[in-house]
């Protein structure tokens, strides 16, 4: 440009690196195109995350199952056959030794975890319901490893609990790495748990409802929708491994729903609810009496395993979580006396195994007990001439009714049973029994088997009353920051690597100067001329309001409302005295936190 001929144009200092610069701009241009096409923010981003953690959760569940199979093969010396078949094939001494050894190893792992891992293990239910979604990974994974040995050795305990815990721990780790806020992390962990449940039972709907109804206690669309997206993503992931068939297929089961049948279902609902109360009492009693000093845990678990093995000498179907018994019943393999004896043994063994401190779930054992109860109910009524022989149908009804009281989850019970049997014709009679069971549970104020996890434990911000919660409780740490002299190219690269709607400008002491709103600059991001010509100081908005740690949530909402047209989805949280940038508050997080706190205050 405007130089006379006597003063030739100075050579560009960048000419030597010109080729490299063109290549890096080309990358930037491509990356920006992709980002423009595919990147989403706000609510839609939630669903993208839900799909992602759904896949992760399902993969964790599949990995857990394979690990259990591997341990089973290792301990039983068999390969590629089911647990029941393995226990049928092995000699008597091994039938006793396998659960005992499995219990011993599992107990040693738990002891090691307690001694050498500083963090306390957090149940996924506690993390979602009470906490901030954080599930410490090490103790969770070690406890899951313990459960792998317990379950793989055939001990009578459920696998769903540790399986879902593994999925939740994975989602928590990913969420923490991506610096998700507490409300988002909770939701992502809940999504992964739903996907794990969906993968365990091949039930996408029930997986989602289990988490929403039992753990989150909310069935609003805002919460249910992403959780269902995640559980469906988990189910779809399962289909890639060819495993999406119903686990207890009973599609042809049918009950002619006349008044008499309805009354029978009502009666079964009452019986199942009372039985579930007794079952819950037994679990509590067993845990109180049998779970003694921690250093004896491996011995207790080994003895409990040996007891399972000893009973398995009589009937190998007693091993495991009870899934064989449900299948056997659906396939009509049992007579009344066999079924009754199996039920009695199962109840006692699960209570003992659970009571000694074994890591595992009681979901499938509870379903098994309910199933056997329904079977016995119909068998007796048939023998006495009061009913037709429809054991499978009443087994399904009994299963749902029993689980309703055991878990305080009427909706989940119905959907779970219908979904994993595909017995659509059984919806009405099941619903009748479930409603009766639920009414009885509420009348007698029965605490579900998940009550302790949902009530006791370290409380999070969501348990506080609204007037006590401060912005410091929901602030996101590690805000995306630049210095005033950082170039436009640096800022754009940062936006690409970690997409954010706002970038904060701080001086060398960390004092807040202003905010750069991504919306202002992204359309210019491909312009290589601006990359070095413009710096952060040229783009900063110094007049955006700042938030302080001691502000309440409602006052912060007012501040955000006043900035609606500025496009600032996040505002800085600044120390009132020093002006130091402490973090930032995202508008969606704020609304999520307020919504959750208000919901809990209302339920109360």
């Amino acid at each position: 440009m405007p130089h006379s001929d006597e003063h030739p144009k100075p050579k560009s200092v960048e000419k030597k690196g010109g080729v490299l610069r063109r290549q890096s701009y080309q990358w930037l241009k491509t990356a920006l195109e992709l980002r423009k096409r595919f990147f989403v923010t706000g609510r839609p981003a939630l669903y993208v995350w839900a799909v992602f953690v759904g896949v992760v959760g399902a993969l964790c569940a599949i990995f857990f199952e394979h690990a259990v199979d591997w341990v089973q093969n290792l301990l039983t010396g068999t390969d590629g056959i089911g647990q029941l078949e393995a226990f049928v094939d092995i000699p008597d001494w091994r039938r006793v030794a396998v659960p005992a050894v499995g219990g011993l190893i599992a107990g040693l792992i738990l002891l090691f975890t307690h001694r050498f891992v500083p963090h306390r293990a957090t149940e996924y239910m506690e993390a979602i319901s009470l906490g901030d979604g954080y599930v410490p990974p090490k103790p969770s994974l070690l406890r899951s490893l313990s459960a792998v040995f317990t379950i793989g050795s055939g001990t009578a305990i459920g696998r769903e609990g540790p399986l879902i815990q593994t999925a939740a721990a994975a989602a928590s780790a990913i969420g923490c790495r991506c610096h998700l806020s507490a409300p988002r992390l909770r939701l992502m962990v809940a999504c992964a748990a739903a996907a794990g449940m969906s993968a365990a039972f091949h039930t996408p709907l029930a997986g989602g409802f289990f988490i929403c109804e039992i753990i989150m206690g909310a069935l609003t669309v805002e919460i249910l929708a992403p959780i269902l997206v995640s559980s469906c993503a988990g189910y779809l992931t399962l289909s890639f491994f060819g495993e999406q068939t119903p686990i207890y297929p009973a599609g042809s089961v049918f009950l002619n729903t006349d008044t008499y049948v309805v009354l029978c279902c009502v009666l079964l609902g009452v019986i199942a609810s009372l039985a579930a109360r007794a079952w819950l009492w037994m679990l509590k009693y067993a845990r109180a009496k049998l779970n003694g000093r921690r250093h004896w845990l491996p011995v207790r678990m080994a003895l409990a395993g040996a007891l399972v093995g000893a009973v398995a000498l009589w009937n190998p179907e007693i091993v495991g979580n009870g899934a064989h018994m449900i299948r056997g019943l659906v396939d009509s393999h049992y007579g009344l006396s066999d079924g009754s004896l199996l039920l009695l043994c199962k109840v006692l063994l699960v209570a003992i195994v659970f009571g000694v401190g074994t890591v595992g779930g009681v979901l499938t054992p509870s379903l098994t007990i309910g199933c056997m109860l329904g079977f016995i109910f119909n068998s007796l009524m048939f023998r006495w001439g009061f009913m037709e022989n429809q054991t499978v149908a009443y087994a399904l009804v009994g299963m749902a009714a029993f689980f309703t009281t055991a878990a305080s989850a009427p909706l989940t019970s119905i959907i779970l049973v219908i979904e994993f049997t595909m017995a659509g014709h059984m919806i009405f009679p099941t619903a009748v029994a479930v409603l009766v069971s639920y009414c009885m549970a509420r009348f007698f104020k029965v605490e579900s088997m998940y009550h302790d996890s949902l009530v006791f434990g370290k409380k999070s911000v969501f348990e506080k009353p609204m007037w006590e919660v401060r912005l410091s409780d929901i602030v996101r740490k590690l805000p995306p920051c630049v210095h005033p002299k950082d170039t436009f190219g640096t800022i754009v690269s940062m936006l690409l690597r970690a997409p954010s709607q706002v970038i904060f400008v701080v001086n060398t002491e960390g004092k807040y100067i202003g905010s750069i709103i991504a919306r202002d600059i992204l359309e210019f991001a491909r312009n290589k001329d601006l990359a070095d010509a413009v710096i952060a100081l040229d783009l900063v908005h110094c007049d955006l309001p700042v938030l302080h740690p001691e502000m309440t949530l409602p006052s912060a909402v007012g501040v955000f409302a006043s900035q609606q047209d500025r496009g600032a989805e996040s505002l800085p949280q600044v120390d009132a005295l020093s002006g130091e940038l402490l973090g930032f508050v995202n508008k969606t997080d704020l609304y999520l936190a307020m919504s959750e706190i208000m919901r809990r205050e209302k339920v109360g």
Binding site: M1, P2, H7, P484
Partner: protein, 147 residues
């Protein structure tokens, strides 16, 4: 973006340095904004210069600042045949474009910078012996950029 009504373009004295150049260019804007605004702009321009040099490339420097209380872009152009040393960059600037931008304007500022930089690449040289003629072309070009 509101069009500026006047773009002063001056030939800078030979003895000018960076500071005096900026002062001279600010003086040409006296009719465009109040003294207070111009004083604020001076502070911001020097603060910007201290943070990072506004010398860009091939003899172009764009000292600028974003200030409140302004509702349109202020622009003044200085031309120096021998060049004005821009100390932080260690280069001589031959075309100096002083910009005052409203602090609320970010996207508009980026548009202007983008256009200025693109224009500068292909703009013809200003000849000292055809100064008046050449600056008319520059003024027309910049007015077009601002439109």
């Amino acid at each position: 973006m509101k069009q500026t009504p006047r773009i002063p373009i001056i030939l800078l004295p030979e003895s000018s340095d960076q500071n005096s150049t900026i002062d001279v260019l600010l003086a040409t804007l006296e009719g465009e904004a109040s003294a207070e605004v111009l004083g604020h702009l001076k502070t911001e321009v020097f603060a910007r210069e201290t943070t990072s040099s506004t010398y860009l490339d091939n003899g172009l420097a764009i000292p600028h600042g974003r200030i409140p209380g302004l509702n349109h872009v202020l622009l003044a152009v200085g031309v120096s045949a021998p060049g004005i040393l821009w100390p932080e960059a260690g280069q001589d600037a031959h075309l100096i474009i002083l910009l005052g931008v409203p602090s609320s304007m970010v996207a508009g500022y980026l548009v202007l910078m983008q256009r200025l930089l693109r224009w500068y690449k292909d703009a013809p040289a200003i000849r000292p012996d055809h100064f008046e003629e050449d600056i008319q072309q520059v003024r027309s070009a910049i007015l077009t950029l601002l439109a």
